[in-house]
Structure formats: C-alpha cells, structure tokens
Subunit: 257 residues, 6 copies
Amino acid sequence: MTRILLLNPNTSASVTERMMVVARKSATPGTEVIGHTVTRGVPYIATRAEAVIGGAVALEALAERAGEFDAAIIAAFGDPGLSGARELLDVPVIGLAEAGLLTACMLGHRFSVVSFSTALGPWYRECVTAHGLASRLASIRLLDGPFRSIAEVPEEKADLLVRLAQKAVEEDGADVIVLAGAPLAGLAGAVKHLVPVPVIECTAAAVRQAELLVGLDPAKARAGSFARPEPKTSIGLPPPLARLLATAGDDMSTVSN
Amino acid sequence: MTRILLLNPNTSASVTERMMVVARKSATPGTEVIGHTVTRGVPYIATRAEAVIGGAVALEALAERAGEFDAAIIAAFGDPGLSGARELLDVPVIGLAEAGLLTACMLGHRFSVVSFSTALGPWYRECVTAHGLASRLASIRLLDGPFRSIAEVPEEKADLLVRLAQKAVEEDGADVIVLAGAPLAGLAGAVKHLVPVPVIECTAAAVRQAELLVGLDPAKARAGSFARPEPKTSIGLPPPLARLLATAGDDMSTVSN
Amino acid sequence: MTRILLLNPNTSASVTERMMVVARKSATPGTEVIGHTVTRGVPYIATRAEAVIGGAVALEALAERAGEFDAAIIAAFGDPGLSGARELLDVPVIGLAEAGLLTACMLGHRFSVVSFSTALGPWYRECVTAHGLASRLASIRLLDGPFRSIAEVPEEKADLLVRLAQKAVEEDGADVIVLAGAPLAGLAGAVKHLVPVPVIECTAAAVRQAELLVGLDPAKARAGSFARPEPKTSIGLPPPLARLLATAGDDMSTVSN
Amino acid sequence: MTRILLLNPNTSASVTERMMVVARKSATPGTEVIGHTVTRGVPYIATRAEAVIGGAVALEALAERAGEFDAAIIAAFGDPGLSGARELLDVPVIGLAEAGLLTACMLGHRFSVVSFSTALGPWYRECVTAHGLASRLASIRLLDGPFRSIAEVPEEKADLLVRLAQKAVEEDGADVIVLAGAPLAGLAGAVKHLVPVPVIECTAAAVRQAELLVGLDPAKARAGSFARPEPKTSIGLPPPLARLLATAGDDMSTVSN
Amino acid sequence: MTRILLLNPNTSASVTERMMVVARKSATPGTEVIGHTVTRGVPYIATRAEAVIGGAVALEALAERAGEFDAAIIAAFGDPGLSGARELLDVPVIGLAEAGLLTACMLGHRFSVVSFSTALGPWYRECVTAHGLASRLASIRLLDGPFRSIAEVPEEKADLLVRLAQKAVEEDGADVIVLAGAPLAGLAGAVKHLVPVPVIECTAAAVRQAELLVGLDPAKARAGSFARPEPKTSIGLPPPLARLLATAGDDMSTVSN
Amino acid sequence: MTRILLLNPNTSASVTERMMVVARKSATPGTEVIGHTVTRGVPYIATRAEAVIGGAVALEALAERAGEFDAAIIAAFGDPGLSGARELLDVPVIGLAEAGLLTACMLGHRFSVVSFSTALGPWYRECVTAHGLASRLASIRLLDGPFRSIAEVPEEKADLLVRLAQKAVEEDGADVIVLAGAPLAGLAGAVKHLVPVPVIECTAAAVRQAELLVGLDPAKARAGSFARPEPKTSIGLPPPLARLLATAGDDMSTVSN
C-alpha cells in the first residue's frame, strides 16, 4: 500500500475535498491518498506574502504527519515550501504546479497556465521561473473578475476559463493547457473536449507523479543540496517541526518513519 | 491493459533486451511493454549524424507499429525524432532522456548526466538544451576510454561510472544523477546505494511516465504545433510512414488505432 | 528622523548586535536604526527549509512592529520573506542580499559572493537568481570547515575568507566581493585592504539603501504586483499579522502608521 | 573552380529550379552551383516530423554526391540534418536558415523571419533557437491562408508577404527581414524596394557564404564535436551513407574526395 | 564635504540646469553637486552613434575635472562611457540609467522604462541588457511624436508620459516606472501621484547612490577588470585624458586627487 | 570594382600593414582593400576605456573617408563604434570580431576566442555577449605574460597561442578557434595545421564578409533602429563627422557617395 499525503496549505477544507475527489479517482489501486487541510493560514493563497506564510505552515503540517506517508503533495499551485520540504523529509515531496508543469512538458513544447484570478499572476510566473521552465511558458492567462466562492469557482467560471484556454492556443502558441490552482481541481476532465490541445489536471498529475516517485524508490539524498540540514535547535516552533529540525539525517528513521 | 511500445532506435537487440528487463520489472500490473528493435540504422547512436538517421528510422518504426500501443517510448537518450513523433501519432510518445530528466527535476534542483562515452557529450548537451532544461543541468560527466561491447557496458564500467557520479555530486553540485544511455539500463538499481543522491533509472522512469500519460488520457492536439500535420503525399518512404503522412488528423483512427 | 528597522530573522541576538554596531556607524545623522531579533525560528538560517520558516517569522515581526519604522531591512543574506513583505507593508523593505548585490553592481561588472559555510551555497545561488542577477555572478566561494560559534565567525575565519576572496578575484574574474551572511557584519571594513577589489559590507549597504529609499519617498504601489493584497481572514496567525492581512490597502494607515 | 552543391531536401524540383535561378545569379565567377533535388521525402518540409525525415534524406544525398563538391548547402529553411552533415563531411556544409540569419546579423541587431505558412512557425522558431540566435529574433510573421501551389508562392503571395515584412518593422522592431523558405527564392530581390530595411535573400546568402567558407579553406575538424564520428557498421542504409559511416576520419579522402 | 560631479555628456546646458535643480534638492547636507556640461558633442544623445561620441566626450570631461570630485554621475540615460570611466577613475562613477534601474529593483520586481522619443528605444534596451537586467524589464514605452524643445519636454509631454506609465502598469505588468532621459529631470516628483506604482526620479537616485558609494568608501580596484589599465601613450587626445591614460594605477594620486 | 575600407581604430600603422597583407591575399579579384590607420587614440585598444575612445575615433575616420568605399571593416576585435557606424553610414560596416564570430558559427557549434593578453578578456567577453552569441562561446583563453612589441606578437607568441588553442579544444569543448586581435593577423594561416579544429583568420573573414554584403546589395535601412538618425547640429566635432550628423537620411548621397 502506497500512502500519499495530499497537503492543502490553504485552510479551505472544501478545496481539499474537491481535490480528494480527483485524487481518489486518479490513484491506481494500492494507493491511499490522505487529505490534510492546514489549520493555520489563509483560505486560499494568492500572493507572495500568503505563499510565505503557507510555506511555513506546510512544513509544520508535513512534520506533524511525518511517518504516515510514502510521498507528499504540496497541493497549492505555486508550491509553497516545496524545496524546504524536500530537504527535510526522507520521502518524495512534489508540488502541484511542479507536477502539472513537468507533465505538460511531455505533451507539447510550450504550455499556458490558465487560472481564475489576476492576483495569482506574479506568484505563478515566479513559480514557473523558479522551476527553470520559463522558456517553455507560452503565456499565463487569468480571469479578472471577482468570484462568488472559492469552493465553487469551477462551476461559476468554467465557460470563461475554457475561452481563456482557447485564446492561449490561438494567440499565444500553447501546445498544452495547465489549469492552475487547487480550487480548479476536477475542471480539466469536464472541459477537455472543448479545448483543442491537451489539458492538464494538476491534481491527477500530482497523485500519479507521487506514485511514480515512490515506485522508483529513490534514496534520500545524503549529500548535495537536498541532504538533511545539520540538526538545529529552534525556538517557538510547533514541536514536530522543532523535532525534525533537531534531528540529524542519520537518525531520520526515528523521527519520520 | 495498457500497451507501451519501447522502441529502440538502435539496431542492438541486446540493448533492447537489457531495457526490457528493467521495463518489465518497472511496469505496474496491467501494463504490457512491447520491445521493438529497429532494423535499419546503427548499433548505437552516439553522434548528431547518427541521431538524424535514428530519428527518421524511429518514425518509420512508429508508423509500422501504429495501432498496437497506447504510448511509445523512444528509447535512446537524446530522444531522436521525438518532436516529430509527437506530431504524427495520436497517442503519447516520450523520450528516454525526457523521462529521465523531468523525473530528476522532482528529486532535486540540479542534475548531472553521467554516461560512458565522451562522444555522447555534444548530443546530450543539445538534448538537455532542446528540452529547455539547461538551467537545471549541473554537469555532464563522461568516461573517455573505449569499451569492449555495447552489450556489456554496465558490467565493464560500473565502478568508473559510480566514481563519475560521486564527483558530479562533490564537485558540480548535482542533487540527482541521471545515468544516461540505453546501454546502461539496469545499472541505477545496482549502484544507487553507492551514490549519495538519487540516481535515475531512465528506462524505469520512461515506462512509468508513459503509464502516467496514458492514465491521464490526454486528448490528441487538434490545434497548436503538435496537431497532426496537413496530409501530404511523399515519395520513397516505407508505406506505413507514407500512409501516416498522407492521412488527415480527422481520419487518424483509421490509420493508427 | 528616519527610523529603520533592522530585522534579524534569526534568533541570535549576538548576530543582531554585531550588525547593529555596523548599522549605527553607517547610518547618516538623523537616522535611527532599531534592531529586532525574532523570537521564533532558528539561530541562523542556512537552508531552504529554514528560510521558509524565517520568511514567515519575518512577516510576523514586521506586522508586530508596523508603524514604528520608515523602512525595514530583512537582515539575513537570502532575504527570506522579502517579496511578501514588500506587498504587505506601505514603507520600503529591502533585503540584506539585495542591498549588497545591487550596490556591488555599481562598483564592477561581476561580483563573487563569499561566505563561511558550504551549506549556504544553494540558498544563496537561488537568491541571486531570484533577483535576476545571475549573469553578474562570477562565483560563490564558501568555506567548508565547521565553526565554533555563530557569534564569532569573523574573528575565527577572517584569514580564510580573505583567501577565498582573493581566489575569487584571481580565478573567477570577480570585480567586487560581497561578504555574505549576517554573522560576517563588520568584517568587510577590517579586511578590505587585503582584497584587491571593492568589498561590500552588506549591513552598511542595506542601511544606506534604506535611507536612500526613504529619501526618495516613493508612493506605495496601489496597482501592480506589489499593491496590497485583497484583505483576507486567516486562522491561527499572530494577531498583528492577521490584522495586516485583513486590512485593505485603503485602510493601511490605520494599521501600519 | 569552386563547386557548391545546392541540396534541396524537398522533392519539389520546381523549388530547386527556382533556387538555382537565384544561385546562378548570385555566384561569383569561378563558382559552379550544382542543384540536387532529393528523390525521397515530401514535396516541402513544414513540420518537425517532415524535418526529421528530410534530415536523414539530406545525409543520404550528401553521401551519394560526396566528392563532387567543395561545399554544400542544405537548402531548406530549418536546416534539416545540418549538424549531422557537418560531422560527416570533410567540406563545409551550411544551412539555408543559418546563412540567412547570420548574414542578417551583420545588417542590424534584430531580424524578423517572414514566411508563407503558419505551419512553419514552431519549426522555424526552434531552428533560430538551436542556432543560439533567439536573442536577436524580433518576430516570426507568417501568412495563414492556403496557397495554390508550392511552385508559385512568391507570385501569389508577394503583396501579403511585403505587408507582413512592413508590419515586422513597424510593430516588432525588426532591423532586417529574412524571407524564409526555399519556395520564396528570388522574392527578396523583387520586393526589397518596398520594405524599409534590408531584406535577406537566403539562397544568395547561402551561396555566397559557401563560397566564403571554401575561400577560407578551413581544416576539417580532427577533434571536438565535429570531428568525423568513429567508424560504424550499419544496417539497411543506402550504400553511400553506409560507407561514409563506416569510414574513419583518417581515410576520408578515399570516400569523399 | 562630499563633492559629486554631475556630468552631462550632452551639450545642452538647459538640461544640465534642470538636473541640477533636482540634484541640489535631493542631495543630503554636506554634499556639493557640481554640474558640468560638455563642450563637444550633440545637444542630446538619442542614438548609438551619438552615444559613442558622447562616451568619449564623457571620458575627456572626467579626465579634465579629475581631482575635483569624490564621485561622478554620467548624467545621460544610456550611461555612455560608464564602464570605461569606472576603469580609469579612482573614485566611484555611476550612470543615470544604472542608478535608476538598480533603485527600481528595490521597489518591485519588474520595471518599465518610459521616455519621450521612440528614437531612444534601441539604445535604452541595449543599456538595460548591458546591465544584466533584461529579466526585470517589463517594457519600454516611448512617445512617438516630435517635441518642440529639448529644454521643455516635461512641460510639453507630462500628460502623455503619465498615460504611458499608466499603460505600462495596466498592460505590461510594471511594478515600478523609471522616467528615463536627462531632459525629464524633475518630472517624477510632479506626476508620481498620478501613477499607481513608484516612479523613479533618476537624477535623485543617482545623486543618492553616488553619496552612498562615497559613504561606503570602497577601495579602487587594483585587480580584476576595473583596475586601472596599463599606462599607454596616445596621440591626439586632450591632454588631461592623455595624461590619465599614461599614468599607472600606482601613481594615480598624482593625477586624479 | 568593390572598395573596402579596412579601418584600424588603433594608431599602430604596423598592425594595419599586417592586416593589409592578409586582406590583399584574401580579397577576391575586383576588390580593392584600402587600409586606414587612425591618427588619434592609442596604439592598441585593450580595455573598455580605450574602446570608448576608439569607437569615437572610428566614427570620425569613417566620416572623413565616406564616399570612398563600398563597405567598411572596423578592424579591431571588440568592434568599437560598430553599431553607431552602422546607423550613420549608408554602406555596410562590419566588425572584425563580428565577422570572425559569425563565420565560426558556420564551422561548428561552440567557438573559443584565443588571444595574447589577459587585459583583453572582459572587453572581448562583453563583445561576444553584445552580439548575442554568448551561448556559443566555449571559452576565452588568453596569454598572461608581457609581450615585446605589438607589431611582432604573432612571431613571439605563436607557440603559446597554439597551445592555448589546443587546450580550448581539449578542455573547453571548442569546435572552432577564433584567433582574436588585430595584431594576430596572419597567424591563423601559419598555425592552422597545428590545431585540430578550424581556426578563423578574422581579417580574412571580415574582408570576405564585407565583399559578400556588397554583393547582396542590401538597401540602407530607412526605418528601424539602423535608419539614419535625425539630423543634428553638434559642437566641436571634426567637420566630416559633424556634417554627417547634420545630414538627413534623404540627403545621404550628397554626403557619403
């Protein structure tokens, strides 16, 4: 049995549940996906400031659940805390954006990121750049109106998002569309027949990539920049995270497995 | 049942068989991997000229076998013919290098490519660049001595390759090692405990990524640069490839399924 | 009177005090530098994971002290939380690395970053890249031995760091040396005569750049990606940060001045 | 007497003839241009798949004619097989795009590529990038309607192409226009007075650059990535190409001169 | 007393005077700004050819005034002669563009350059690129109509420039606006309330950055690419420049202090 | 008869003569190469400061000789004043570095620049970058000892330069060697048999490329960034340059032909 933690660094349980519907459907037999909604932070991360907070909260949650999963997904497009989590944990951790973007790379040369709020633009662009994939980005296309509820964005905005995706193909040269943002989970399946290029469902991609990484059974880095950091004392952090930081790589098993 | 064609664009059946051992072991239940060794070309592609030939031969083989598989792997690091194949076929096609490199991206920030012959260097570097991943390449490290037989490189060179990988970690800042080249299939599993960072087995990564793409069930592009080319008559090409080129996207089902 | 908050996102008060010695000496008359050591986190940030935590803690501290300063310095090389802080606050915020690197750009074409621990390398490299300055980076040179105490690194390591800086000039083509890391505050002044190119004291550069920004009196962005985020409710965050997130840009004055 | 092989990797003899008219006019006295239309492949290459095939066919043709020329032009914009040919042959080989783009670099800083079919866009863009010239590309502008006959595109589309070129100057900042695509041979001369910046005739540029390279009498690389590949046996390739692959660099004279 | 030479490499005294008004207001107490208008060259530099001339004239003027200042500003956006001046002089030299662009980097992630003549575009773009800041450039927006007098551009064009700046924010994603060009000195202060992001006054930024560099008291490079060039005899140059070129770095004090 | 001005922006007539020997030998029948040594400036340009001066002097000389040539070569590697000259003149102008580098691109993928003085490094690197060719640069290799006379560098340093070139091939991956610097004119022919990759003689390449451009008969740009600048009055410039700047593009013929 492969256990995958789907960690939503937003506090919106409804969004977690939406992703869990897709995750359960996408997982192959023998995989259990465990949803986790953080209990600190904001309902949905949309800016750099919120991503900073969400990154730290994600590390806290991963430390708290360490030992309960074989791989983890940081389930917010933008991947808050991803590199840090990859250092700290001894199991694979992947980001929702990372999984979606790398999967898109196998279906075309240039992808467009389509989402529901202009506020997300700079954070998403910096995320694509941080992954070193800027040369494969055709465009980021975002809706600019308000939305009623973060829980029901796909229902409210499906038509407009499809139109954006079509424009990205027609005008920006997109070979693939990445529907970005945890709240859009499930939308790709519903609209893919309306878009003339492959449409990536990031949640499904992330679950499958997490399974793939578990299947490859990579060793935890013992050198290089993703080896466990030197043990450190800390002040004022939640005990599980403090313990994880205080533990040397050699003793990892006692902490996280 | 998911059928994956593992297409070796080299004429060395022994190398295909080596990859098939890994492929069968890596595939999840319900997947059949079909090995195919091309019958035109060179025993192993090592230069740009040979890659040009191998790319065309790969297209011929894919056309010949079209309809027999749900996804195909172009199983030579360097991915000869990959973009062209992705245009022509209506099922996912991925490259051995592409699968290895993108998988490496999920296990660290910078990877080194390690292989057995300096002749491969320029082709591999141009491959990494063509995938837009140059910013994530820590180094390419290659052995420079001759080898006895392409069929037994891993047995002959394991120790030297491990030493190269260790140097890539120590001196080049590699977070992940990609053991590159079809003839090295199977080596990663044998030596991963000797290298202090994750070591990518490209054949396993490719089989799993192919399964993943089939699982996501992406639509064939009907627009953008990976839509089927306009039908064209041709001269002197093998009949299956000529038929594939002559067929419009709308009629694909009659050709390739 | 210009008030500048020198915010140390590490918990080491001794490091803050070391920076404050330099800051007081560098500040022009009419500037008051206020030191602040965070009370959550690790003694010194050296990895991506610690930077994620330090970034969130920095935002908490900035929110707590909002209204007490005309500009803030995030005083850890690596600039944890910088972009987020720049969104949230209505006064200028600059990073220790940012100030040092941009100042170096005015004294030569390529700079080398020199510091005391190899662990810092990846984080520093990603920081330079995130600032868009990778093309001006000649090298990062780091000591690889252990150190006795974070409070006394400059005394212990001065000779070795000077030798590294000299090598960066001789072998890497550095036109300027950036002595990086809060614990090295004060070292540049002590060793600059031993290095044949300009040596940047980041703390001094940061204090002066903060004064400069206050002097230019830039308007807070009301549009673009550094405008205040839309107000948001949050859960479990320290009250000052929660209030700051909950406040619209239009009402900023009531929160932060 | 300098003999230049103008090798059209498309099967359209009419296009070869069109290029030959320009080539004969451009060649300086003492140069004989030999036209060669391939007898395998497609009438005109427009996609990556067709370029893969055309690249291999180009190598076959070059091997077949080896010894008959002092330099060769791969006369399709996109330069299929160019790097491979440069490895294999002991005389200079240049591409139609390469010659046009590099010549354009000497007449301005940024160039636009103008051609007659949107299908060509991705292939052309990847060609410019592969030559390392993306930073000098102002734009690619392409007509999107159908055309009656590949043999008469210039006559049919001249006005529209001129308008595109003018727009590239006015809106994209082009300093030079590269009229791209073998079928457009001869058009530059006819329309250059209608475009307010230099217009490159690629066929003329290629003939002249080929003459220039012959004149410089460069040694064939005996090291580096364009030295002759190690001799290799092959299966199923046309005999001249098989012989060329089977011949070591030291014995080249017996094969190709 | 800190003496800063504001060197206008244009021959327009009225533009120097406009900058001096801003410079005097921006300088902190204890700074004397010395205006200098060159007596050779063109009234305002707008093209690469004029910048080449202006660069040489700037070196002549700096040599002539050497010893009278503690830092110099090359006060034309485009920074003609900047790198050369930095080699030759033993005090800091900064460019008007350099100061504006680097200061903008501390107030947002991407900046737009806004100015009054389309002729300036290529020169400005090449300047941003030469400083290694192209990845932070959102756009260059330029007015395209004629202007009545170089001395009164701000009065004549303020409304149009504000509109351009607003468009750069709305359409190009600018976080900061850099009002570029010596003739626009003083405009930023007058219009900053009309633009919803920070607007950089380059003259003020340059004066303040010059003060900052003097305050940091950097050593003149004795190695690296900004050390004094080897002494050289010359022909036909103005005596002060000839003397400066003829003087070794070790004897600099006798020349320039 | 094609007249090519070989303009040496250094004051060393011996270097001009050395280039003229190569130029006369390289030129095709019907070409007259006219040597011109400037009478202002330094004996050989080696730094950015000297390049600034040399650029302006080059414009003066081109203006003085305008009307006497069909194309001009700025015959110093580094190409001082090239872009400006290209704006001002109505005939093609090319740089010695530009010609050498672009020609090298047709003979391999990556080139190394080899020259005789470390002082030249930064200027040469910035030249390669300014031409947009940094991705094709394998390395710059420079001798670091002193030399007896600029007129006899090739005789004195041939062996050392050959060794550098060999190292560039062996260690840096150079496919082509560019022997850089006007004083090295003629060396390539003498040593090419000692270097296992093509060696570019820049003077020959420049003469041939100049002939090629004349042969293509490109129109002078009437739009874009290389159109003639708007006419401008100037002060204190040599009369021919002042006249050229004062003349509108429409009246060019009266000035320069």
